[in-house]
């Protein structure tokens, strides 16, 4: 047809009567540049024809560009996606197990429903039918999404197989499914702050899920933790009961292997169910054990004593004047129910003397004190496998007042995890390990010495005395040789002053003291007094008995060998005495 278009079949043939055209040879097939009007006109017709052909050619090229070019690319992409889908494990996030292989976080394969609004023929009808199958969706929302301009919009995630079947049965073109997965925490609240949770896109947003997100998504081998589910559950149960009993606003407990700093259990209350989405500002989302920084109070006297003994400037047999409050340039240090006499180092620990502790620290000096705190990790954020961590708060200027107040636990705010990790080093023979949650961590092989073995031994004896003769009496669980130190810190009120009515109590302990295996820290925020406690709110009345219950429950679980060689009659008498005043 096109050939015929350009043929000049009637070049030399004239019908009878036809005009013999002179200008015929001037048509643009035989191009000439004559100057007469007709030739000019024909030349210009030829030029215009070429212009038209050019424009039509441009349209042809553009047609190719919009019709075919995008599809060539799309086909390649589709194939790539197709291949990848077959080569991969459908689950992209590894499980998490406790130290015994019990699964504590896993993923289920699900499907996500999305729509391609470009392919939806009748958004109103599609939305009506979809809402019937998925009543939790709102008609207006669905309609808005289906009428949108994009080519991809999620309608609902994590459908059950039955829902998927029903939607397929509707047969609405433009509704499509995408393989997805849903993170499941079978123990609900139990490991809330440890594990954290994932967001809607299956990305870790808290806890181990966030800190180890890369590991969990790169390998599908389960991640083993140092946690023991059974012990965790026991501690969770006792701590929850204690929070209720003492009407506290929060509590935390950490159980650590003193020789490796492996965390066996970690509980922070209130907690939440990571299977549900939680408001990140909610109090229950806050991890007291690793994120909260608190002035530890008298618990810090442990490290003060250890530092003093390690310095060589103080001996266990030394005595310090605690007859009257210690007047410094800016502050006066008093004792809580003071003995008002000269006290030995062990008496300072047993009676928890602020004056005695401050005098010990002043004798050793600020430089050495700071150096020791640095070694104990009190100035740095911990290297730990949970996303929620904090750097301790400490004064920049380290004057006489600071030396004295830090000695008995004020002016320096630490996370409970800092305290128990350093405590483990004090009692385990003097080796500091970074705390860990990962069973295969190298940290336990990379400990370093912070105290001599001898100082550690002396500290164990002092701590045991606190339990047998001091504020920790009620934690003296028969046979498990508990040693520890209490702390009752006044909380800062809103006006920046310490409020002696509102306290945070801590008990940090180890057992069995003759050959320490585990360290337990129990902390309670604002426990209330009751008739039962004679309206006292000090540590000895709340966290200490709680720790006792926990230790008597978990020690058998942990296979700690009980030692009943002590004078049982005497033990029983002490315990009895402490309950009847």
């Amino acid at each position: 047809m096109f050939g015929k278009l350009f043929s000049k079949k009637d070049e030399d043939f004239y019908l009878p009567g036809e005009e013999i055209k002179i200008g015929k040879s001037c048509s643009f097939m035989n191009y000439t540049c004559a100057k007469d009007p007709l030739s000019v006109c024909k030349n210009r017709v030829a030029f215009s024809t070429l212009a038209f052909i050019l424009v039509y050619a441009v349209i042809g090229v553009r047609l190719f560009e919009v019709c075919v070019a995008p599809n060539l690319h799309a086909a390649e992409q589709e194939e790539a996606v197709h291949l990848r889908a077959f080569a991969q494990n459908p689950i992209k996030r590894a499980d998490i197990t406790d130290r015994n292989g019990t699964i504590i976080a896993t993923s289920l394969p699900t499907v996500n429903l999305y729509a391609n609004p470009k392919k939806i023929l009748n958004p109103e009808r599609a939305a009506q039918r979809l809402v019937k199958v998925l009543p939790e969706l709102k008609y207006n929302d669905v309609l808005r999404k289906l009428s949108g301009r994009g080519s991809f919009v999620y309608l609902k995630r994590n459908l059950t197989p039955s829902q998927q079947y029903q939607i397929n049965y509707l047969g609405i073109p433009g509704l499509e499914f995408e393989n997805g997965e849903k993170r499941i925490y079978p123990h609900k609240n139990l490991f809330a702050h440890l594990l954290g949770s994932t967001n809607i896109d299956n990305k870790g947003i808290a806890g181990i899920e966030k800190a180890e997100n890369e590991r969990l998504t790169q390998s599908d081998i389960p991640l083993s933790l140092t946690i023991d589910s059974g012990v965790q559950d026991t501690i969770h149960e006792h701590l929850s009961a204690a929070v209720k009993h003492f009407n506290a606003i929060g509590a935390t407990a950490i159980l650590m292997d003193v020789n490796t700093s492996e965390v066996i259990a970690l509980v922070s209350l209130p907690d939440y169910d990571p299977n549900r989405s939680v408001n990140p500002n909610s109090r229950s989302y806050f991890n007291m054990a690793t994120k909260g920084v608190y002035e530890p109070g008298s618990v810090l006297k442990i490290f003060n004593a250890a530092m003093s003994l390690e310095s060589g400037k103080v001996k266990v047999s030394d005595s310090f004047d605690a007859t009257e409050p210690l007047k410094l340039k800016y502050n006066v240090i008093k004792d809580y129910r003071g003995e008002n006499r000269w006290l030995t180092v062990s008496e300072i620990m047993v009676y928890s003397s602020n004056i005695g502790s401050a005098r010990m620290a002043l004798k050793v000096g600020g430089a050495e004190q700071r150096q020791f705190m640095q070694k104990m990790g009190f100035f740095n954020e911990l290297n730990f496998e949970i996303a929620e961590k904090s750097k301790p708060i400490f004064p920049k200027r380290w004057g006489e007042g600071t030396i004295a107040t830090v000695a008995y636990g004020y002016g320096l705010a630490l996370t409970p995890m800092h305290v128990i990790t350093a405590f483990s080093a004090v009692v385990n023979g003097g080796i500091y390990h970074e705390p860990t949650l990962l069973k295969n961590s190298d940290k336990k092989n990379n400990g370093y010495r912070v105290l001599s073995y001898n100082t550690s031994k002396q500290m164990r004896d002092l701590l045991r005395l606190v339990v047998t003769d001091g504020s920790g009496k009620r934690a003296n669980v028969l046979g498990y040789e508990v040693a520890g130190k209490t702390g009752t810190a006044n909380k800062l009120s809103a006006n920046g002053k310490y409020n002696s009515k509102v306290v945070r109590t801590t008990f940090v302990s180890t057992f069995p003291v003759s050959k320490p295996q585990y360290a337990l820290l129990v902390m309670m925020d604002e426990p209330k007094g009751s008739q039962e406690t004679w309206w006292y709110t000090t540590a000895g009345w709340n966290v200490v008995p709680t720790a006792a219950k926990v230790i008597s429950a978990i020690a058998p679980q942990l296979n700690v060998k009980a030692n009943y060689d002590l004078d049982e009659a005497r033990q029983a008498r002490i315990i009895e005495a402490s309950y009847t005043r």
């Binding site: 047809m1 096109f2 015929k24 048509s27 210009r44 039509y56 349209i59 047609l63 470009k118 301009r149």
Partner: protein
């Protein structure tokens, strides 16, 4: 196959042996494609505005035979009759355009339509072909008789027509009429200097339109906007092209076409692409190109200035309108409400195009105008 004796003296036989059958065949083919594409494009639009699915198809099937008959009838006329018809049509059209200014039906911000015996008619559609023939006649007159002010007359008529079109306002049609008039002036031997000046003036006019008419400004801004902000129509149109690919999705299988506004008129090319693919689109482009080129070749073989000027102007107006429509759909230029001749739905457009192509076929008939040429009007 119709067979006529070559020596028959009947009008039909005479017509059959003289009409350019290539052009006739291409036009007929284009009309058939148009009918098929209306089946694809118009039901979704008809459903959307709530008339029966086949509303537009029925109307188109009613208009196509009328238009085809009109075209064949015109193509049998003598050159002199064509010239007179065009002059009468031009005068009537100008009158109707004045009428639309006062009694016109306003749609989409412009009054271009008048209701006539149950049909709405767009007079400005008829102004293009009739003006093309009238202007050709005037230009030829200037060349033939030195004292005849053909150039001046055609310029005045152009100014009048353009003014009426701008008052509606119908900028697209103004551009087409301007282009045709300029094209004819150019062919009639206008000095290249003046051609350059006129082209510059045209550009200035287009830029001025951008600032004078808000709807023009909106269209142009939309065209220049990034991929994400482009207008809904053009976005859907490009999606349709992509969806169709090389071979198309198949008749009735279009998806994107359901959401294209004006799918049956301004964006029928996109519907063609989605259902029949790039192949049919290339065929359509080829047919338009062939009609333009064929007309140019056939007319340039003649030595009569009127024939060359009128035929090439009619073809150019036809081809230009197709270019504007296709380029709009392909996002090569701002969207301009212009139909795809002989393919888009629309009675006015169809009849006006048939009117123009009927005259074109008559003018390009070979060897029959000898008696007309020597006559003086």
């Amino acid at each position: 196959m119709v067979s006529f004796a070559r020596n028959s003296k009947s009008v039909i036989a005479n017509w059959w042996w003289t009409v350019d059958k290539t052009l006739l065949g291409l036009i007929t083919f284009l009309l058939l494609i148009g009918i098929f594409l209306n089946f694809s494009a118009s039901p979704s639009v008809a459903n959307r505005i709530g008339v029966g699915s086949f509303h537009f198809i029925k109307r188109q099937l009613f208009f196509v035979p009328i238009a085809y008959g009109l075209m064949l009838f015109l193509s049998m006329q003598k050159l002199k009759t064509i010239r007179r018809t065009a002059i009468v049509a031009f005068i009537v059209t100008l009158g109707l355009m004045v009428v639309t200014l006062f009694w016109g039906e306003e749609t989409k911000g412009a009054s271009r339509w008048i209701n006539f015996a149950g049909f709405s008619l767009q007079p400005s559609e008829f102004v293009k072909p009739s003006f093309a023939v009238v202007a050709a006649w005037l230009f030829e007159g200037q060349k033939k008789y030195r004292d005849f002010p053909g150039n001046l007359l055609s310029t005045s008529l152009f100014a009048l027509t353009a003014a009426l079109l701008l008052m509606q306002p119908d900028l697209g049609m103004t551009i087409v009429v301007t282009a045709i008039w300029g094209f004819q002036f150019f062919l009639a031997g206008l000095s290249l200097w003046i051609v350059g000046i006129l082209a510059a003036l045209g550009l200035v006019g287009i830029v001025a339109a951008y600032f004078v008419f808000p709807h023009v400004q909106a269209r142009v801004d939309q065209f220049l906007a990034s991929e994400n902000n482009m207008g809904y129509q053009i976005k859907k149109s490009l999606e349709a092209f992509e969806s169709g690919g090389f071979f198309g999705r198949g008749p009735g299988e279009g998806i994107v076409k359901m959401n294209i506004p004006d799918a049956h008129t301004d964006f029928i090319f996109a519907v063609a692409a989605e259902e029949y693919g790039m192949l049919l689109c290339l065929l359509i482009v080829g047919i338009y190109a062939a009609i333009v080129v064929r007309t140019m070749i056939v007319s340039a073989k003649d030595s009569n200035l009127f024939i060359i000027l009128s035929a090439s102007a009619l073809a150019a107006s036809f081809g230009l309108q197709a270019i504007i429509n296709m380029a709009s759909s392909l996002h090569l230029m701002p969207t301009k409400g212009m139909t795809l001749p002989f393919i888009s739905y629309g009675g006015s457009s169809l009849l006006a195009t048939a009117f123009g192509m009927g005259m074109l076929l008559a003018i390009t008939r070979k060897n029959v105008h000898a008696e007309d040429k020597d006559e003086t009007d």
